[in-house]
Symmetry: C2
């Protein structure tokens, strides 16, 4: 065993020492970043959460400490007491670079084997090794910085909401499985064999009940769960900033949350978010950017060419328009210089989004080059160029298909081109937009029925309620998403607070009166007792931290994350459990037959 | 459907209106507490989270609003706009009692059926009804006050820990089942059929790993889970204030947490907790109060009579002492007036704690009455009376048995007597004590082995490490519990941070080298890489809120609690799930054979 503290107190953190401390006798505790022998002295870079301090051991400073220092190696955990002195050769790259610690005593708390990963910034190591030795990965200063940001952001969120009259109320983790969401994680009950709790996908219904209770303003920073196949940047458990307000309309919720976001970005990064944040209806976002979370840090909007080519004989265009699709295009400035191979690659790219092909027109100096020119009338070709505002040197990229394919393929192509041609000039820009007027329902061809685009508790827009029966796809919702640099930061809505309207909504989703009450009875019942108008929003905290910390890997912002198979390399979870545990729960594991 | 807001803004909360607002035109929104017709006017008590405001509707104030007010009933959710005026007959029982609102317009957001429970303070309704209609139960002002306290307490905790350099770090809910704890809730994995996650009983190991990572000071307010048969005031999921510090000894952890508790009680209740909080070793607590969580709001300490009666011929005493037990007693002041039946009831009470009987001596005026007097020598009887400092009018209650029975039965009897005879004078007293020097291990007769008294990661006291092999029961731990008014508020310890010592500890608990590494390998491995000395503590937040809110029912402080069978009356969780969900997880429910 190493040495014990035995009453020794740390008096300073490594990273805080400056010239003003010169002459002070201090004690610091931390880890050996590196050790060098130079001119008969031992130099140790000592690291704690706040930074690095140079410590000098010398025979003439303190002979005993000097000899003991000979035994220490990287990542030993130690304490050093001594005097802060001016450094002979200052290091301007270190915040403590003007001073060093002359070591009088050394305590070795514990030794370290050679770590399997380097304890340094910008580490390039295999992910499974980083995750297995997560405690060493988290020792790296750039990782620790992320958790300081995360702490600070959560604190700023709570401070702001507290100041604005919100109460943080905890809702249960062991709750009821509800339909219409993603797949639930379930937890077998011991008292009721054959019955299960579900881990919450969000506290949606319970926070609405808190509004019925008159809590007025609720929030919670809370774990939520989805047992889905994990795409990149998804985790089985994630953290939401969840809030709900009574006696509000969409504008009130939006204004409150703009203030929240501005407060967080100011507190954590010192960045001023200009308010109010601009808004864009869903329809415009789809038509201009092919996405309900448009990246507005660059232009290159999608342009509709349907009108220009509506009488064209070109079969590809005519077929798309005939099938109530459209013909739309992007104009890539300077794209006329692209070679055939590069353009073919773009064609392959849009095919991954089900587009049948990518037509193109290059405006080279004194020449228009296009494989489809021969199918178009001269005035059609000129009409396209004019509508696109294309100039010499540009490249027009056209997709003709049904609208969903046109939007998705051109929307994705737009993002792909922005990356390839570095269209985003300011890497530090935070471009916020609210997307509004979402469709309430989405039709699922496979299942042959409507699904709630947001969730089944979202209020339709007043003027569209009349279409709930006759034309459900046309109904817009009182819903709003906050989009930042092309990512959804959060979303919410005004909720239904009327039993009849809620029943009607569930009916459109295919519920019978009976199945609606079976699944959501406690909500429908609650609405009989004077529910207030209410609405709210939930932010994805993990994603927010990714923005604040400047990382695009969600695993960086979660202290103990899981891999894509929801496996934890560190603890080896999930794992087998005792037979007795399964017996207690009266469940058995079914071996796969095939 | 009721009326919509349509741009109407709430400008005031009901409870904030005072004489200074007279003459202002305001809008309030809330629920109808009650309505009375008096002298041709309609009086409505309107309630929101902040309190109640009297609203007056009159034909001469506004005829339209007056007629509309005729339709409203209790718990309708409404908005009223009008002028604040001085009340003709002020009501000093209401904080808003000097003013009332003259209603110009009325909006009815939603109607209410007659609620199944009264929306009032100090409700006496059946618990299952309260839990089924929890959203109405939570509408009661005394319940809402609890959640304001809970919010405020959590905020105060976070503010204090933030100011003291703690980072809040979230640890996973889907983690690994570990032995040596209570029964885990488990979650089947879809990706790895036959494997399970466990919901955490505490983030113990992960917070220790964060110390290995150099996070220095960690905390989290976090849900924890135990699948145990629920005693009163236990819930399957509960909330911990969990914290851990590096480079500290027990005194440092204690001092930090005293500051935390003082801050919380000051912020929430305005109560000054006198620091430092007194400390008492476990042994003293057991000997004086028969409990490791003594209630120190009253005296009546247990007194050891073993020495006085060690040569007694009285078989009951001699047997107890012979079997290395003891003879101990309480002295109830004024208890000489108790009748035989009352004393017999005390005898029955101690028998529920396995005591074979309760001997007693009544010091009546001029007479000593005792059924055991005849078995005692005169000097023994007098010795008992003298040792107990008993005076005329007192009652001495004696238990002779093995020590564990003596302590438990007299400790419980002491609490029972305090309740019966109202020995606790100041109901508002908060009497804090640290209990220290706990035994590290407890021997389980049934299992025939030692268990960790706190948990297997607790550091033994330096001077006792030598007995780990030879006399494990003698080893004391660097552990400390904070006790308030006879309840455990929190507990913690300095941890082992050495692979060898941790392995030794697990060996004492019956682990082989192999099974120790299988269960705790990632911790043992982590200790190879320069672990710092560290320790921490966890408070039960639910219990803390019970104290702050002055309730002795844990269900009052949890918004959506479960009953004793871990069942939620509101959502009907746990419940059946789709067969498909079980198929996906490849688990089956085993029907009970018997």
């Amino acid at each position: 065993m190493g040495e014990a503290l035995q009453g020794l107190k740390r008096t300073k953190m490594c990273g805080e020492l400056r010239e003003e401390h010169i002459g002070q006798i201090i004690t610091v505790m931390g880890w050996v970043q590196r050790k060098r022998n130079l001119g008969g002295l031992e130099f140790v870079d000592l690291r704690d959460r706040t930074g690095i301090l140079q410590v000098v051991f010398g025979d003439e400073i303190n002979s005993e400490a000097f000899q003991k220092a000979d035994t220490i190696r990287s990542e030993y955990c130690i304490a050093v007491t001594g005097e802060i002195v001016r450094r002979e050769s200052p290091n301007s790259n270190m915040s403590t670079g003007m001073v060093e610690l002359k070591a009088n005593t050394l305590k070795i708390f514990s030794e370290s084997e050679t770590p399997p990963i380097y304890i340094k910034e910008n580490l390039d190591a295999a992910e499974n090794i980083r995750l297995k030795y997560r405690y060493l990965d988290l020792r790296r200063p750039d990782m620790q910085k992320i958790y300081m940001i995360r702490h600070k952001a959560a604190k700023a969120i709570r401070d702001y909401l507290d100041k604005n009259g919100f109460l943080e109320v905890e809702t249960p983790m062991l709750t009821k499985s509800t339909p219409e969401g993603a797949r639930d994680y379930i937890v077998p009950s011991r008292n009721y064999p054959g019955m299960f709790y579900a881990l919450p996908q969000s506290p949606q219904l319970l926070k609405q009940l808190l509004m019925v209770s008159g809590f007025d303003r609720y929030f919670q920073i809370v774990k939520c769960f989805r047992d889905e196949d994990l795409r990149a940047n998804r985790q089985p458990e994630f953290t939401q900033v969840d809030l709900e307000m009574s006696f509000v309309e969409a504008d009130d919720v939006i204004a409150l949350n703009e203030g929240l976001i501005a407060h967080v970005f100011k507190e954590v990064l010192g960045v001023e978010v200009k308010l109010p944040i601009k808004r864009m209806p869903f329809k415009e976002a789809m038509e201009k950017y092919g996405s309900d979370k448009p990246d507005l840090r660059f232009g290159m909007e999608i342009t509709d060419l349907t009108e220009v080519v509506k009488t064209s004989d070109f079969k590809v265009f005519a077929d798309a328009i005939g099938n109530s699709g459209s013909v739309r295009a992007l104009c890539l400035k300077g794209g006329a210089s692209l070679g055939r191979k590069d353009i073919d690659r773009l064609g392959e790219f849009v095919k991954t989004f089900k587009a049948k092909g990518l037509a193109w027109i290059q405006l080279k100096e004194g020449e228009v080059k296009s494989p489809i020119a021969k199918f178009l009338k001269e005035e059609e070709l000129q009409g396209i160029i004019n509508t696109m505002n294309a100039e010499t040197g540009d490249l027009i990229l056209i997709v003709a298909d049904k609208n969903s394919v046109v939007f998705q393929s051109l929307g994705q192509l737009r993002l792909d081109l922005a990356k390839k041609f570095e269209l985003i000039k300011d890497k530090n820009e935070f471009n916020f937009t609210w997307i509004t007027e979402f469709p309430l329902l989405e039709y699922d061809e496979e299942e042959g029925r409507y699904f709630a685009a947001h969730h089944p508790f979202t209020m339709p827009m007043d003027e569209d309620i009349q279409y709930l029966d006759s034309d459900p796809g046309r109904v817009r919702a009182k819903a709003y998403d906050l989009v930042l640099n092309g990512e959804e930061l959060g979303g919410g809505s005004i909720r239904i607070h009327d039993t009849k309207l809620q029943e009607k909504m569930l009916e459109v989703l295919g519920f019978t009166q009976e199945s609606a009450w079976e699944s959501f009875g406690f909500l429908l019942e609650a609405f009989k007792f004077g529910p207030p108008p209410h609405g709210g929003l939930a932010f994805g905290l993990d994603r927010m931290i990714m923005f604040l910390a400047g990382t695009d890997n969600i695993k960086d912002v979660i202290a103990f994350p899981k891999n894509q198979n929801a496996f934890c390399y560190l603890t080896q979870a999930p794992n087998v459990v005792d037979e007795k545990q399964l017996d207690d729960l009266r469940i058995g594991v079914i071996k796969k037959e095939d």
